[in-house]
Symmetry: C2
Subunit: 437 residues, 2 copies
């Protein structure tokens, strides 16, 4: 299977439901499914939508070819296999744009089509949106904590190899500066970054004289290959000696040093002083090592120039999935909803708007029936949140690029009430009003 074929990233029950629905005609009923999160992860003030662009790309590959159909021969009957063979999503999708904020109940995606057309997209849509939004939501908090300092995303090794590529993309939308992941650079144009690991220094053991540990030889080799603008990893052995050697080898024009272990605040101060004493006043300090948004914030007063984040980014900093669901809300114009305990949904297709003061600060999110006017908001400006994404199965023209989405998020975060950007636990930054019948 080529990565371009996405049809099998699907739960078996989507197809058995289609099979049953084809028999009794339900398959052809006009339906609206909505994607939303019932709540935000504990204490989070906002979520960030990501993955929409990947989902729209993945739609084009959602085709059941003969290879896929052979493997489904004992899952569904021949009539269903025939239906799958000719399946192309032909409905419409509206949704929150990538880089948009979301809150509990926000109708992030609305998928309209026949029951069968829309139900088979459930697993793929949720996989992409739940993963990418979880990463972007965590990343945005880290970017906020870092202020104007850039963050390098370097978490590929801590997550599934394909998920890593999506993580780098989501992190860029959320405002991170660059990624270590080569495929994310190739596929999405996310700026690349990265220099060397401890193994590179260790591989030089016994070379280059000096202490025999080869650190000097390693630095010389890296500079020969990458120039003095490179960032040298100075904490393989003794950091103070590492910094001294780095400046000896590179000169005071050394681009940067990276510290990957120990008390990063203390070490950053110590290394800054040492670099300044040596005359390397423009040499940047990059720190890494299990940083999350809180550790980044704690380093705000330290002389750090850039952060590298890995594990905490790709695991969503405690919230590795966004908790979004894909629910049928309307059938042939009738609102439907599950009624059993604890997991109630609100029936009927919905639209959403955000109401803001003249200053731009958001006051509330309003969810109202699709097609009905936005409820009155006294003296506030309302902006519709859903945009058209797919019409008649085809992506609309001029979908936002990841750079557009990144800029959109940066503006959206500025529009939150001030407490919304707090890292501390609390309620969602703005209330959601359900103006529904």
């Amino acid at each position: 299977m080529s990565i371009d074929n996405t049809a099998m990233f699907t739960d078996r029950y989507e197809l058995t439901m289609v099979s049953a629905a084809l028999r009794d005609g339900t398959a052809r009923r006009r339906c609206t499914f909505e994607v939303f999160a019932r709540r935000l992860p504990d204490g989070r003030r906002y979520g960030v939508v990501a993955g929409t662009g990947r989902l729209i790309e993945a739609l084009a590959g959602f085709r059941f070819g003969e290879e896929q159909l052979r493997s489904l021969a004992d899952v569904v009957d021949d009539a269903t296999l025939d239906w799958l063979r000719s399946y192309r999503f032909s409905g419409d999708i509206d949704g929150y744009r990538e880089g948009e904020l979301f809150f509990p109940g926000s109708p992030i995606l609305s998928v309209r089509g026949t029951f069968a057309d829309a139900v088979v997209l459930e697993t793929l849509a949720l996989s992409i949106l739940n993963h990418d939004s979880a990463i972007a939501s965590a990343a945005a908090r880290m970017v906020t904590a870092a202020g104007s300092r850039p963050i390098i995303e370097m978490g590929s090794r801590r997550t599934h190899e394909s998920a890593a590529v999506a993580c780098a993309r989501a992190a860029f939308i959320a405002g991170m500066a660059s990624t270590s992941n080569l495929e994310a650079t190739r596929r999405y144009g996310v700026p690349g970054a990265g220099t060397s690991a401890h193994s590179f220094t260790l591989a030089h053991v016994g070379l280059g004289g000096g202490t025999g540990d080869g650190e000097r030889a390693a630095f010389a080799a890296q500079i020969a290959a990458l120039g003095v603008g490179t960032t040298l990893l100075v904490d393989t052995y003794d950091i103070t000696r590492g910094v001294a050697t780095a400046v000896e080898v590179a000169g005071t024009g050394l681009g940067g040093v990276r510290i990957d272990s120990g008390d990063l605040g203390v070490l950053a101060r110590q290394v800054r002083a040492q670099l300044d004493d040596l005359g390397a006043v423009n040499t940047r300090i990059v720190v890494s090592g299990d940083l999350d948004e809180y550790a980044i914030a704690a380093l705000r007063a330290e002389p750090v120039d850039a952060y590298g984040v890995g594990t905490q980014l790709v695991t969503g900093s405690g919230a590795p999935t966004a908790g979004m669901v894909y629910k049928l809300v309307e059938v042939d114009g009738v609102g439907v909803a599950k009624r059993s305990s604890h997991k109630e949904s609100r029936g009927g297709a919905k639209s959403a708007s955000r109401a803001a003061r003249d200053t731009g600060t958001i006051v509330e999110e309003i969810i109202h029936p699709a097609g009905s006017p936005v409820p009155h908001t006294d003296g506030l400006t309302t902006t519709a949140l859903q945009i058209p994404l797919v019409r008649g199965g085809e992506p609309v023209d001029d979908l936002p690029s990841i750079t557009d989405s990144r800029e959109h998020l940066a503006s959206a975060l500025v529009s939150l009430p001030w407490e919304g950007l707090s890292l501390s636990s609390g309620e969602p930054a703005v209330p959601t009003r359900f103006a529904l019948p």
Copy 2:
């Protein structure tokens, strides 16, 4: 890029290191890299190795073709591009087999080759092993908690679409019975499972008379398509009525009912009593809804026949990555190790054995220099833990299948001291002895 090409699932710095190492000849030094976890996730008693088989498959696709090389033209110099063009891993890999237990420091993988040959595999090896082992480690606890009751893996929608396939594979190795993920069934032969969602019932609104909610029509359609052996989802509206309708429509031969919300223990008892009263004494009860190992264990005394797990499985039940690192430990026969604070490594290539009593119960794991005899253990039987995986760049014959790995893990878990299978937090189930110089 086809999914078969895995070369770009790589951190940029692996290639810049190669570039620098090619210039000064370090690239050709004979090296051993080892994969290990410094610690287990908080309170976990053991880890489960998974991903080894996927890694060996991915090695075959680790090739830099012209498409990949074009995107690397501004990352490395021409000499490095040439080296990458002809890159084939030609070294040896030994490692713990899939389904093997691991503990802090266990040398899960040993990669031997030139520095350049081995360093470029770092990101891919860690991505696969960290992800798959995290999932298998969580899954094994859930399987233990479920005892003889089967678990259906249904977490695809809560994780990246490709990661979902690997999750299903890892969960099967860990003892789960089946998966909802179609691609995992197609690619790896993991048994498939799945029937219907609430949306299927809701899609029947207004059909089939009765209460007008269409539940009866939905059940009839599912049975028509899948037979009475299917599992009906009974909690869309009122569970008691759902169960009654299910048995009316299917008869007492109904395969199963699924409950996906509410207090699962209370509902399971109530539904069991109702089913028995209706004569459906063999109808199974499947429960799902944010189950983790603790929730599964809490249901042990309830009349539950099978569990569906999703979110908690694919997020590693609180530990979404296994924390493994890929460290250079030996260069041209000399042991090397990072010396800076908190992240020390033990230099030198290592082997590992497990010492057990006659009863089979493991007493300790012993890590000793590779090539040296296993240290003496009084009256205990020792078993070597690493097996050959790759020789001269090629997978060895007769690598274990996922079914072999699943059986191996089942035996290995039985060999733990009894407290090792406890779900409560504690120390690793067996101590590790580092019999190193």
